[in-house]
């Protein structure tokens, strides 16, 4: 029935606000004659009962945020931090290792560094240009 759509809208609307007396009377009259809209009405009522009875949950693990001067980073920032939590420190460690290796290699190959013996302290010997060390040429 073409009008059924309109009456079903009224049935839904009735759950959210009071209908006007004219709307309510027209709806009553239609429902007396229309089995399918009565079925719709019953299903709506059952649906609402289930929705109202859906379980609620206790936020036992949630605590009130403590704000101590610094503002708490928002959720987007925390998600972003979580995503970089592993790769960035890993990259930092690798970079530090690479720099360490480069420095070690340059010291090992440095002609100005001599080893005075195994296990002893390395001594850097700076060979001064004789002209700089003794500009008068003495």
């Amino acid at each position: 029935m073409a009008n059924c759509e309109r009456y079903r809208q009224l049935l839904s609307q009735r759950l959210d606000e009071a209908l006007t007396s004219e709307e309510a009377a027209a709806l009553r009259e239609h429902l007396e004659a229309c089995d399918r809209c009565r079925t719709f009405e019953t299903a709506l009522a059952r649906q609402r009962t289930i929705l109202v009875g859906l379980p609620h949950f206790s936020a036992d693990n949630v605590s009130l945020p403590v704000v101590t001067g610094a503002t708490r980073p928002n959720l987007a920032v925390r998600c972003w931090r979580a995503r970089i939590a592993v790769p960035v420190p890993l990259a930092a460690v690798l970079l530090a290792a690479a720099i360490g290796w480069a420095v070690f290699s340059s010291i090992r190959d440095d002609p100005y560094v001599t080893k005075s013996g195994f296990g002893e302290r390395q001594v850097r010997v700076i060979r001064l240009d004789p002209m700089v060390a003794n500009p008068m040429g003495d």
Partner: protein, 165 residues
């Protein structure tokens, strides 16, 4: 704003931290429940609720808040929808514990609620589970009350057609 919220918010603005705790205790479960049904994930829901309260704390010296409950729900809703843009909602099937012995509720969550879009789901949850009026929902979603009623009708019709499948 309900009287208790109004008094507690005023007390918190004067520096009484216990007043904020009372507001928190009054609203956290409803917000958490909303977030669990929207995200399907309890850990995400916990973060979202905490985030909303962190934002409320940030409003302590800001503009007056007409209704703490509505403000918290609007804030939670915006945070949740932003969160769902980054992370798709988990399936509600199995992630919502149902202690009720009514198998119809389990079937409703798994087969009907789970198939609604986040926008459709929030509409029926706000209306039926949390008891907001269509006018309150309209104000929260920045829609006209008439538009909310039409949307609610469409969602109810959709839920019935899913139930018939």
């Amino acid at each position: 704003m309900n009287d208790a919220d109004r008094q507690d918010w005023a007390a918190y603005s004067r520096g009484e931290r216990n007043a904020l705790q009372r507001i928190f205790e009054r609203h956290k479960d409803a917000m958490f429940t909303y977030c669990v049904y929207m995200t399907g994930n309890r850990e995400d829901a916990e973060d979202l609720v905490q985030e909303a309260f962190a934002r409320l704390i940030g409003r302590r010296n800001g503009e007056p808040i007409a209704s703490i409950r509505d403000w918290l729900f609007i804030c939670t809703r915006n945070l949740t929808l932003n969160h769902l843009k980054r992370k798709a909602p988990a399936s509600l099937a199995g992630s919502i514990p149902v202690t009720d012995s009514d198998p119809e509720i389990r079937r409703f969550i798994d087969t009907i609620l789970d198939r609604l879009t986040p926008e459709e789901r929030e509409l029926v949850l706000l209306r039926e589970q949390h008891g907001f009026s269509s006018s309150e929902i309209a104000a929260m979603l920045e829609l006209s009350p008439e538009n909310v009623r039409i949307r609610l009708y469409r969602v109810r019709k959709k839920m019935q057609s899913i139930a018939r499948e």
